[in-house]
Symmetry: C2
Subunit: 226 residues, 2 copies
């Protein structure tokens, strides 16, 4: 299927299409405090899931599942698990940093109309998967690619997404009744938002600074600059 001997590159994305793409990419935020309760239309949700499902996956194994958590009772249980972990997390910071941590809003589990857990089935594709033979974690990474596709596609649909990682993974797996060979990768709060902030919330709150890109680039080996 690759018999072309052309030496002319395929250049089918024009400047305007690229600009639109970058508008979505740079407009994406990790949303915590700006959710509105409005339900997502079904077709919008399907568009986002379809985009996630077209992420790259090792050996085309497509190890992901999408659990849509709509039940308020279930979300309250998950919120409790978050609160427990978050109290423990605050204790790990010292003094001033701890006080600032406690003031941050770090999830929208009950404020958003929909939560989505994206999971990875470690047995998908059978015992030998092309591309996973020497890097067994590739299925986890494929699932993260699906998460990032979900996140960006949501932004293109004007839908905000927040990834909640302050939660015990075993507790989450138990609440969602995951089989042993399935692991939760991302717990996402999903919904329309009043506002997409101009910059990441932790940057605006001066919790961390954006690194300089130049400082992160090496040539040929670690530590060598061009």
């Amino acid at each position: 299927m690759d018999t072309s001997s052309s030496t002319t590159p395929q250049l089918d994305i024009d400047d305007q299409t690229r600009e639109s793409f970058y508008k979505v990419l740079y407009g994406r935020r990790d949303v915590r405090g700006q959710f509105l309760p409005d339900e997502l239309p079904d077709d919008v949700l399907i568009n986002i899931l379809h985009a996630a499902h077209h992420a790259p996956s090792v050996g085309l194994s497509q190890p992901w599942n999408f659990i849509l958590i709509r039940s308020e009772e279930k979300r309250k249980q998950i919120f409790s698990a978050f609160e427990e972990a978050n109290t423990e997390a605050a204790e790990m910071f010292s003094d001033e940093r701890k006080l600032r941590y406690q003031k941050l809003k770090l999830q929208g589990i009950l404020d958003s109309p929909l939560n989505v857990c994206i999971t990875c089935d470690r047995e998908r594709g059978g015992p030998v998967v092309l591309g996973k033979t020497h890097q067994p974690e590739m299925d986890l990474y494929s699932t993260v690619c699906a998460v990032q596709n979900f996140w960006l596609a949501a932004r293109s649909e004007n839908i905000g997404v927040g990834w909640v990682s302050i939660i015990d993974r075993d507790k989450l797996a138990s609440l969602l009744k995951l089989p042993d060979h399935v692991v939760p990768i991302a717990y996402l709060c999903v919904g329309y938002v009043r506002e997409f902030l101009k910059k990441p919330e932790l940057e605006l709150a001066q919790w961390e600074k954006r690194a300089e890109l130049d400082d992160l680039i090496y040539t040929d080996q670690w530590g060598l600059s061009d």
Copy 2:
């Protein structure tokens, strides 16, 4: 910074922008056999790296680095490591599957003008990182988000990317002289291409089939359909 009490959602992405975004997302491919030797212009490479650097990261820790492998000698060493792993990998498949595996072209390490290794610094952000306290693998996942941003941004710049995972990770770390606390996440071949295939190569080669999205969606818990 979130004092707005508006109940009107922000809807700033219009239909045409969204369509452009989806054109890029669905046009992305894992490229192996279609690379052209043309060098990437510097500004194009910087655009792609800038997009990767604006991926979400746990606690805004930005744990990634980008190693640009331009040296042909280094790429030949990495190609040898691939060949060694690939020979081992073929042996894991049986009979007919093994013969088909051996015929697949699975990397473009020497055909593409540039290789990029995206790494994760497990110590970035210090001993306690917001959002990593209960899920210590979140820095690895943040780095994969940067990989997916890189991949999509490259497609928007008409640049193909192929992720090579058939390689021993310790050998790769050693060749790139990574410190112990830094792990390689993705080894990418990068360049212009003769053609972006219409579908994933493994789907066209009938190695695996695309799953039905409907079969991957559950509600409220594993195994429950709406």
